[in-house]
Amino acid sequence: MPGDSHMPSLEYMIQIEGLTKRYGEKTAVDNVSFTVQPGRVTGFLGPNGAGKSTTMRMIVGLDRPTHGTVTVGGKRYTDLVAPLREVGALLDAKAIHTGRTAYNHLLAMAATHGIPKARVHEVIAMTGLESVAGKRVGGFSLGMGQRLGIAAALLGDPGTLILDEPVNGLDPEGVVWVRKLARHYAAEGRTVFLSSHLMSEMAQTADHIVVLGRGRVLADAPVAEILNGATHNSVRVRTPQAQLLAERIAGPDITISSTEAGVLEIAGITAVQIGEAAAASGVVLHELTPVSASLEEAYLELTHDDVEYRTEVSR
């Protein structure tokens, strides 16, 4: 019976208050406050270097906050009686000794909490590592290392699951598996907190999203709300009489831009209205396409000014 030994409740909530982490002059996490609720998948989204990993490391007590507090179920991680039981964390696929076999790594982790060997075999089977469990981790691919990290996170059948970039290096099958795992855990009432720098990944997995940029929370809302808030729908119009059409539909709330000759990007007016206006003034239309901003664009818009390393091309 999945999870029947657990009575998940609000005790697994992650609460972050005024969390700040400075490394010398550099502020990695800047006065961040939010909560991660049980029973849903919370996505932690942000460009590389936004402070996602640092925040996650502070949750499990690996990094010491400069200011602020973070608690899991009302307790600091370091005060937990059974840390692996409360929180399973994949923080870094490389947080495993390369000279040890996958099985021995899991066995050693399990031993700290007296987790039975049967559970070790179980997480190996769950993550599909049976055939390589006896091999040393040094020879593992990124994807296999990732699976081993997830296996270790699942050892204590934790009430809170924290996964930092879990799908990195996974094959498509593995990506789907992680998505199902996250959904399943959340459906059982557990807390699931996953980070990614890819909006598309989050949109398929998360119910709620916290967006981080340059160490600050840019958004903290349900997925749908984030998309709607940032989406600005527009209409692409291809016409040989661009000038004329632009004059006819011009108005105070309407923005018209053009990226190439004969093509207009029009926002603030529907495709129907544009078509009718064109017909009324005898303008020939070659194309009339409503364009909704993709999830990716919504995310880019949110983090536009907060990307630390930006390529010239992406501007």
Partner: protein, 299 residues
């Protein structure tokens, strides 16, 4: 290595908990068991300990085979001293191995990132730190003692062939043999504290080997040049010099009341127990320092 497919997700999702975990919790005994699994599951550990056994017995047997004496028959003390020398000769070499091993036990975790898994499982950190030290100490002591005693047993018939008959099970012999294992253990622990502070294998190994090999040599050269007694006295408190007393045969039967520091022409000469106390002091000082750093630093 592509034959890895995730377990087929069920209709509701991946299969999860089947094994009841009951009331599991983090315990120090669990940490010690975990560290024991970690220590024995690395090839470097097995190699290091295997090499210690081989070198100890090898060097001892070689010395016993090539030993020769002429002249009047030896006193009981001389017989015993030869046995101690034979059985502990290897310690001079194996101390370098345990130094490397002691450093690697912790720096191997820092260099691979394993330390984050370790500290996430045992977030108090000091428990994991002490657990590692306990496992390293016990393993090193047992391997050290077994190899030294085995060497003595191998050497016994070889020496008997040269009319050397030590009283192996006399305390005056047994104590230095046990001391040899104790010395290896303390050097391993000292290296472990260095590794914890430095966090890099190369840095930790360089500093512990420097302390064991280079510093005594440099001090000896300087004292030879200057004839300054105080430099020799400083050198007497180095881990290798003070620690060397722990496995040296003492004519005055061991177990006698602890002697005070004896001054021979203004030079410090530590007894076995004093040497032990000095080396334990080194380990404790650096051990506390390393513990403070472990607790304070980000992992």
């Amino acid at each position: 290595m592509t034959a890895t497919t995730p377990a087929a997700p069920t209709a509701t999702g991946p299969t999860l908990n089947v094994t009841p975990l009951g009331d599991i919790r983090l315990r120090f005994s669990g940490i010690v068991r975990s560290e024991w699994i970690k220590l024995r599951s690395l090839r470097s550990t097995v190699w290091c300990y295997g090499l210690i056994v081989l070198l100890t017995i090898g060097f001892g047997a070689l010395l016993a085979l090539t030993f020769s004496h002429s002249g009047p028959s030896l006193t009981a003390d001389q017989n015993n001293a030869i046995m101690v020398q034979v059985a502990t000769l290897g310690v001079n070499f194996t101390q370098l191995i345990v130094a490397v091993l002691g450093a690697l036990v912790i720096t191997g975790e820092y260099s691979t990132g394993m330390i984050r898994s370790t500290f996430a499982a045992a977030p108090g950190r000091i428990g994991a730190y002490i657990g590692k030290a306990v496992v390293l100490a016990v393993s090193t002591f047992v391997i050290g003692l077994v190899s030294i005693v085995a060497t003595a047993l191998v050497a016994l018939p070889l020496l008997a062939g040269k009319s050397i008959h030590p009283a192996l099970f006399d305390w005056s012999v047994m104590l230095p043999l046990i001391g040899g294992a104790g010395y290896l253990t303390l050097i391993a622990l000292l290296a472990f504290t260095f590794g914890t502070m430095v966090r890099s294998s190369a840095g930790a190994i360089a500093s512990i080997l420097g302390l064991l090999l280079v510093v005594p040599t440099v001090l000896r050269i300087i004292s030879n040049l200057t004839q300054a007694a105080w430099i020799q006295n400083v050198a007497a408190f180095l881990p290798s010099e003070a620690g060397g007393k722990i496995f040296a045969y003492q004519d005055s039967v061991a177990g006698a009341p602890t002697q005070t520091v004896t001054h021979t022409a203004g030079l410090v000469d530590l007894t076995s127990w004093e040497g032990l106390a000095v080396l334990v002091g080194w380990v404790l000082v650096f051990g506390v320092l390393a513990a403070v750093l472990v607790k304070r630093r980000d992992a």
